[in-house]
Structure formats: structure tokens, C-alpha cells
């Protein structure tokens, strides 16, 4: 019992976000009479929030380096517009078009990263300019009108589900298999990590607690995939999201590049005198943001099945809010990918729950604002205590 409380205290910051997410979910689950966690609605939740979550993953890197990117919404719209021109007007092969769009995103990121990293203009200004520039270019490209519809294969990016290789009828068997596989891999990694620590003679937590954690992992992952399997299985977009979250968490936590990103945000001068190529890191973070903004724009366009001039409006603020709710510091150097995703989910669940309750968009905005403030205030007050 004692070890649980110390464990919780140690991870208060991270666990508090998870607890907040669970509480908010339970609250809306009760308020909506169980509609929130219905399989159909969970699927919806994922589809609705995927583009914000992808932006949040890119944004947390930008914010860790001590910058900000206000242009992502406009960039997403611009890339959506380009994709429509390529696929609808020019009838280009969707795969090729997606590759070109992602490359265009990288190019836009490089453009902004150049001004921030090498010329030294504050990111706020560069990306504010980018926000106007790319919104304007979107209107130019689309000539102020929406373009639709996309080829069906492209729509699958957002609206499709994994095919059931095992031909399940009432239930999507392939999804259940994936759930079991993923949970087993996670458990394997946990055991491996613990054995490694034992090999180095480090202190590890008690065995009982460790097994409880493994059981919890298994239960949570499989419940989640089971619920989705009772509807139409795993959405394609969930697979993309999962890969992105895992990959970025790994890069940020385990690799030299990740360490350098944190170092640049933590103390630029010290990092540079320790051999970190600070300009390259900053530039790279913006290029990465550009690619993820492009991906987000593609997913949004596919979901809407149209490229519209107003697409991606205010996405940047949702992404930034998600990152800060997820515990990142506005001064740089602090933040996690998982935190940003949880922050995004907190907002997503609230949006969805309030919509089900029939609350107007006016009140939703106001409440979201207060939640952002409360989350960050909680964080800062907590820090002062310790």
C-alpha cells in the first residue's frame, strides 16, 4: 500500500492527467446515460479527434524547444486544397498525391524553420505570418470554393476500417487478435525492461505491484479493442495514430535526437556548448511539424470528403491547448508526447460529451477555455508546493 502511494506521488504530474481524463470520461458517461462509451461513439471520438491529436504530437516537440506554431491550421487547409487539386482536378493516383502533399508539408516546415532557426525571428511572428500566408494561399488555390468528392480509396484514410481477415460476422475478430498481440508485446517490453534493471542491480518495485500493472495493461487494451470490435473493428486512422504516438514517444524518450530536442528547450546556450547542433534541431522540429500538419490536413479533407477554404480553422489553438493541458511548459524543455495526446483526449471527450448533451458551441468554447486554465493552474500550483 505504501509503495503505491509513493509511486503515485512520484508520477503525480503524469498520473494526474490520466486521472483527470478518466474522471471526465466517467462524468460524461453518467451524464449521457452511457452514450459516450458506446462502440459507435468511441469510434466517432477517434475519428473526430485524430487530426488534432496528430497536430498535438508535432506541437509538443515545437513547444519543448521553446517555440510555438500558429500556422498549423492554415497549413492543414492549404495541403488539403493541394490534395484536392491533385486528386480531383488532375485525377492523380492517391498514393502519389499523398506523398507529394507530405513533401509539400515538409517544405513549408523548412520555410518556417529557416526563419526561426537560422535567421532568429521569434516563432510566434514567423508562424503568425505563416498562418495568414497559407490561409491566403488556400483561398487562392481553391478560388474560394470547396472541391469534392475525393476518390473512394483516399476517403478510406479517414473513414475506413481494418478488413477482417478472419471473416467474423457479429464481431471483428482481427481487431481482437491485434488487441491481444499488442497487449502481449507491451507486457513483453515491461518484463524485458524490468529484467534489464535487475541485471544492472537497480531497485525495482515490488513484484505484486508489477504483476498488477501487467494485468491492468492486458485488461485495458483488450477491453478497448473488444468494444471497437463489436462495432466495425479498428478504424484505419487509429492504426496510424497508434504508430505515430509510439514512434514519437520512442524518439523523444529513447534516442539522442529526442534528448537534443529537450536540451535545446532546457538551455539553448548550454546545449550548444555541449555539441548539440541547436539550429539543426530547431529546423528539424519545424520540418516535422510541417509534415504532421500536412498529414492532419489530408485526414481532415478525407473525413470531410472535400477541400474547403475554412478547413483547419482554429486547429492550432486546439493543438496548443492539448499540449499545455498535457503538462508541457510554456518556457520550453518540458513536455511529453503521451501527455499531449492525453491533453487532446481530455478536450475531445469534453467536446463530444457536451455535444451529446446538446450544449451549444458557445458554451463548449467557454468551458474548454476554463478547463485549459484550470489544468495549467493546477500544474503550476502543484509545482510550487514541491
Amino acid at each position: 500500500m505504501n509503495s503505491i502511494t509513493t509511486l503515485l506521488k512520484k508520477n503525480l504530474k503524469q498520473s494526474s492527467m490520466v486521472i483527470a481524463l478518466v474522471l471526465i470520461t466517467l462524468l460524461f458517461q453518467v451524464l449521457t446515460d452511457g452514450t459516450l462509451l458506446k462502440p459507435l461513439n468511441i469510434t466517432n471520438l477517434i475519428l473526430q479527434n485524430s487530426y488534432i491529436l496528430i497536430l498535438a504530437v508535432g506541437m509538443v516537440l515545437v513547444i519543448i524547444t521553446g517555440h510555438i506554431d500558429l500556422s498549423v491550421g492554415s497549413v492543414a487547409a492549404f495541403i488539403g486544397a493541394i490534395s484536392a487539386i491533385l486528386m480531383i482536378n488532375m485525377q492523380m493516383n492517391p498514393v502519389l498525391a499523398v506523398i507529394i502533399c507530405l513533401a509539400a508539408g515538409a517544405l513549408i516546415g523548412a520555410w518556417q524553420g529557416f526563419w526561426v532557426a537560422y535567421v532568429g525571428i521569434p516563432a510566434f511572428i514567423v508562424t503568425l505570418a505563416g498562418m495568414l500566408l497559407f490561409r491566403g494561399l488556400t483561398l487562392v488555390v481553391l478560388q474560394g470554393q470547396s472541391i469534392a468528392p475525393y476518390p473512394e480509396s483516399f476517403q478510406k484514410l479517414s473513414n475506413g476500417f481494418l478488413p477482417d481477415l478472419f471473416g467474423g460476422t457479429d464481431i471483428h475478430i482481427f481487431s481482437i487478435v491485434i488487441g491481444v498481440a499488442v497487449s502481449l508485446i507491451l507486457i513483453g517490453l515491461e518484463i524485458n525492461g524490468r529484467n534489464n534493471q535487475l541485471r544492472y542491480n537497480f531497485e525495482v518495485g515490488s513484484k505484486g505491484l508489477f504483476y498488477a500493472k501487467l494485468v491492468a495493461i492486458f485488461a485495458v487494451v483488450n477491453t478497448f479493442t473488444y468494444v471497437l470490435a463489436t462495432y466495425r473493428g479498428l478504424p484505419n486512422i487509429l492504426v496510424i495514430l497508434f504508430v505515430i504516438i509510439v514512434a514519437y514517444t520512442f524518439v523523444m524518450k529513447k534516442t539522442i535526437i529526442g534528448r537534443h530536442v529537450y536540451a535545446v528547450g532546457g538551455n539553448l546556450k548550454a546545449a550548444s556548448l555541449s555539441g548539440v547542433q541547436t539550429k539543426k534541431v530547431t529546423f528539424g522540429v519545424f520540418v516535422n511539424m510541417g509534415v504532421l500538419a500536412a498529414l492532419s490536413g489530408l485526414i481532415f479533407a478525407a473525413r470531410l470528403n472535400a477541400a474547403t477554404p475554412r478547413a483547419g480553422n482554429l486547429f492550432e489553438l486546439d493543438a496548443i491547448a492539448a499540449v499545455f493541458i498535457g503538462g508541457a511548459s510554456a518556457y520550453g524543455g518540458v513536455g511529453t508526447v503521451v501527455g499531449a495526446v492525453i491533453g487532446g483526449l481530455v478536450m475531445g471527450v469534453m467536446n463530444n460529451g457536451m455535444s451529446i448533451l446538446g450544449l451549444g458551441i458557445d458554451w463548449q468554447q467557454a468551458i474548454k477555455g476554463l478547463v485549459l486554465l484550470a489544468a495549467v493552474a493546477f500544474d503550476i500550483i502543484n509545482k510550487k508546493k514541491s
Binding site: 544492472y200 534516442t255 536540451a263 556548448l273
Partner: protein
């Protein structure tokens, strides 16, 4: 015990933080119109004591009594202690760079009527105060345009504007060069003759000897003794601070010097912004294996700039000249290349340039050599932990765990983390810029020992220092810099403070 009146008495002050007793029954008596020094190792509790006195830690969070002019004081905040005339000047100056001297002096105490500032009065009063502290600057000069020494004087002027009775200075000369320190100490003595009392926290024992009337020594949160000026000797103070006598301040070493392996030829660099200003002028120097070479020079002589421009051109523009290692020319265009060629640079400002304070000890130690603990760019966390533990033991870093945030460590321990970082990069040439600034005597000795050990392994060491005794005590050979040039090269046998000082103040050698 004395006939003079006691202006301040702190009785049995005890202050606890969760887990630690920072102050344990500390007593302090300060006589009116004296300069009272407080001495102690880093982390001994000096700053905590001053924070209790000035109300940063409000009444009720500590035990014991504060008597100021025989009145019992229960300060709730700094404002209340300032109202009584107790003013503290912190080590990190609290001035606003973009505001003028006059604006800074009267910040929070504006010369105003109904919220409208009377600028004429502000400036004229500021001018009077500047005269008092002997600072020849227009009150309208911006703070960012004057040096640290002058900024320190502005802080004192600001304190005077508050009608200060008891002035507390926390390591006032730590960032100052000899001249500015001298000025400041003279000013303190002059203010004393006008009846002001001051408390000065300092690591520089020679200064204490020079200005203080009495010294209170604090060790491990306890007041050890208060010594009268007549009885003050440096050894006595050191003795009290570390609880043992340090017979030799510089560890013994048998130099084992090999052949020249590192050479810098015709090195010049210019100011990064002011294109015309040449900061380093045609410098030539060489370092032998196993040799400790010093660079002496006043602040602003181009010492740091020389070192940083060699270290991957991290300072300066239009840098020219050649660097040779083992006879081969090096092309050090960035810091990564310099590190890969076995050069390490420990900066003079560890907080600003050396450490990432919000990160933990192990992450700071590994930062410059992540390749060593990584496979294919993937960091092995366990290995990192083991390496950090190794250095914690080797360097005697006082911390419960290497997962501790570096920002929570004392100055000496922070410096050991920076040294660990660069030792882990396994350099052949280690450049140390003011390695013992703001560090207590015990930690200094440990750092000297590490330097000797590295030299005995055949590494070359280049030390930049403002403290001449340190240069003389540690180095086999000394280069002296003045105005960007090397004005002298002195062997250990010939190195005395007088000789070095002569070259340091000599513009053309």
C-alpha cells in the same frame, strides 16, 4: 561583552525544510556601524539565514527571535524588513536591463505624486545617490549599458535610497574583477565610517580580512564562532568553515610533463556584433601533455573569448589562425567537431552555459557524449544511470540520487556535475574557465585534486582564473592576457602576484 551597541541580534534561529534542518540554533550578533562577515561553505546555511532576516521566510516558519535595535521583529514579508531599513542585495542582481539607472533606483519607490512620476526629482535624487557611491554615470544610462561592477554600485545606491540601516550583501564581489571589487570594498568602508552597518557574505577570505570587523562562521547550519577582526587569519576562518585545518590549499603534485601536443597559432577573433572590435589579437600558445597551463588576465582581457573561439568557434566573427593537435591542423568549425577532437570547455557561468537546470544529474552528465551510451542513436537508460552513479562517487557529488534536478544542487556540486560531463567526454585538452568561482574552500580543493589527477593521466589543462593565488598555486606555466593580447609567459618558478599583475595591466608587452 562589548560596550558598542548591538544593532541586530538573531537568537537560536532554527529553520527546517522537509527532510533537512537548514539552520540549527544559529546565533548572530551584529554591532552598529561595523562590517560583519558571514563565512561558510556552500550549503552551510548563510543565504537561508539572510532570508530569515529579511522576511523572505516569514515569521512563524522558523523558530527563534530576531531583535533589531532591541525591538522584537516579526516580519511577514520583505517590505516590512525594508521599512525598518534592512536591505538585502542578492548575488544575482535584481536590476532591469532595459530601464535607466534612475528608474531602477526608484523602482517600487517611485518619486511620484498621485501616481504621476516627477522625473526631475527622480533624476536629481538619483544623481545625489550616484555621487554618494562614487559612480560617474548619467542617471539616464540604461542598466544594460554598464558593467556588472557599476550595476553593483547601482544596487547599493538603490539601497541607500531606502534609508538603509543594515545592508546585507550576498557575495557582492563574486562576479567582479579586482578593480571593481576594490572599489566596492572601499565604498563599504566609507559607508561604515558614516555609520552604516553591513553584513557581507563572501568566499573571498582576503577581502573579509581587509574589510570586516568581525566574522561569524557557519558550518552545517550551525553558528560555530564569531571572531574579532584582530584575531582574523585566513587559516582560522578556513579551519572553522571546514572543521579541520587545511594545511595546504593546493594539493601536492609531481608534474610529469610530456611533449607539446596542442598548439594555437596567430589566433584572432572579432566581436560578433561590433565588427571593427578585435577581441583576441594574434595569440600564440601551446600546451604539453600532463601540463596545467594558466591564463591570467583581468575581466574583459579576452580570456574567455579566446577559449570559446578555439572551442568550435562558439564565440566571435572573422576568426583566423591555426590550431594543431599532435602536429596535425584541426578545422574546428563547430562545437561537435571540437568535442570529437578531444577538446572540452567548462564555462565560467555554469548556470547559463554549463547546465540544464531543469534536467537531472544523469542527463546533464551524458549530454556531451550521448554516443557513448547509445546504440544506433537509441539511448541505453540503464547505462546512463550507471555512468552517472560512477561520477557521483568519483567526484563526491553530494546528492541522494542522480535523478535529482541539477537546479537543486549547491554551486560546488553543480560545478562537479559540469566537470563530470566533460570528463565523461574523455578530452585530451580540458579548458577550465573560472572553475572555482563561487565555490567554497572544501569543494575547491576537491576540484584542484581532480585537475591534478587529469594532468597525471597525460591530459593537457588550460585554466582561466581571476584569482591569482589559484593560478600560481596550480599552474606549471602561465600566459598573461591584456586587451586581447598575450603580454607575458611566466614559468611557475617566476610566478608571483606582482609579476602577473604587471603583465595584466600592461597593454603592450
Amino acid at each position: 561583552m562589548k560596550s558598542e551597541s548591538i544593532i541586530l541580534e538573531m537568537k537560536s534561529i532554527t529553520k527546517e525544510f522537509p527532510g533537512v534542518k537548514a539552520l540549527d540554533n544559529v546565533n548572530l550578533k551584529v554591532v552598529e556601524a561595523e562590517i560583519h562577515a558571514i563565512c561558510g561553505e556552500n550549503g552551510a546555511g548563510k543565504s537561508t539565514l539572510m532570508k530569515v532576516l529579511s522576511g523572505v521566510y516569514p515569521y512563524g516558519t522558523y523558530e527563534g527571535d530576531i531583535l533589531f535595535k532591541e525591538q522584537l521583529c516579526e516580519f511577514k514579508d520583505i517590505k516590512q524588513s525594508e521599512d525598518l531599513g534592512i536591505v538585502i542585495i542578492h548575488q544575482e542582481l535584481a536590476l532591469i536591463p532595459e530601464l535607466s539607472i534612475a528608474e531602477n533606483i526608484f523602482l517600487g519607490n517611485e518619486q511620484a505624486k498621485k501616481g504621476v512620476i516627477n522625473w526631475n526629482e527622480t533624476v536629481s535624487k538619483a544623481r545625489d545617490l550616484l555621487n554618494k557611491v562614487g559612480l560617474q554615470e548619467s542617471p539616464n544610462t540604461l542598466i544594460k549599458d554598464i558593467g556588472v561592477g557599476k550595476q553593483q554600485l547601482v544596487e547599493i545606491a538603490k539601497a541607500l535610497s531606502k534609508n538603509v540601516k543594515l545592508l546585507i550583501l550576498d557575495e557582492p564581489t563574486a562576479a567582479l574583477n579586482e578593480n571593481d571589487s576594490e572599489n566596492l570594498l572601499n565604498l563599504l568602508m566609507e559607508l561604515r565610517s558614516q555609520g552604516m552597518t553591513s553584513i557581507i557574505i563572501s568566499h573571498k577570505l582576503n577581502e573579509i580580512k581587509k574589510v570586516a570587523n568581525s566574522v561569524t562562521i557557519i558550518r552545517d547550519g550551525q553558528s560555530i564562532e564569531t571572531i574579532d577582526t584582530a584575531d582574523i587569519t585566513e587559516d582560522r576562518i578556513i579551519n572553522g568553515m571546514v572543521g579541520r585545518s587545511l594545511t595546504n590549499r593546493y594539493p601536492e603534485r609531481q608534474p610529469n610533463i610530456g611533449e607539446t601536443f596542442f598548439e594555437v597559432k596567430n589566433w584572432s577573433t572579432f566581436h560578433p556584433v561590433q565588427n571593427e572590435r578585435q577581441i583576441v589579437k594574434d595569440v600564440n600558445l601551446h600546451i604539453k601533455k600532463g601540463e596545467i597551463v594558466g591564463i591570467a588576465g583581468l575581466m574583459g582581457s579576452g580570456r574567455t573569448e579566446l577559449a570559446m573561439s578555439i572551442f568550435g568557434k562558439s564565440y566571435g566573427k572573422k576568426t583566423t589562425g591555426e590550431v594543431y593537435k599532435d602536429g596535425k591542423p584541426l578545422n574546428l568549425t563547430n562545437v561537435t567537431k571540437a568535442i570529437n577532437e578531444g577538446i572540452a570547455y567548462v564555462s565560467e557561468d555554469r548556470k547559463e552555459y554549463g547546465l540544464i537546470l531543469m534536467n537531472d544529474i544523469k542527463e546533464n552528465i551524458s549530454l556531451a557524449s550521448l554516443n557513448k551510451i547509445a546504440n544506433n542513436h537509441v539511448i541505453n537508460d540503464n547505462k546512463e544511470y550507471v555512468v552517472a552513479e560512477e561520477y557521483r562517487t568519483k567526484m563526491n557529488i553530494k546528492t541522494p540520487s542522480v535523478t535529482q534536478k541539477v537546479g537543486n544542487l549547491s554551486g560546488g556540486n553543480q560545478q562537479k556535475v559540469v566537470l563530470s560531463k566533460w570528463m565523461f567526454s574523455e578530452p585530451d585538452l580540458l579548458i577550465l574557465d573560472e572553475p572555482t568561482r563561487g565555490i567554497d574552500v572544501g569543494a575547491k580543493f576537491e576540484i584542484y585534486t581532480i585537475m591534478n589527477e587529469l594532468a597525471s593521466q597525460g591530459k593537457g589543462i588550460l585554466v582561466i582564473s581571476s584569482e591569482l593565488p589559484e593560478i600560481i598555486g596550480m599552474c606549471d606555466r602561465v600566459y598573461v592576457m591584456s586587451e586581447g593580447e598575450i603580454t607575458g609567459e611566466v614559468k611557475k618558478a617566476d610566478a608571483t602576484q606582482e609579476v602577473l599583475m604587471k603583465y595584466m595591466t600592461n597593454s603592450r608587452g
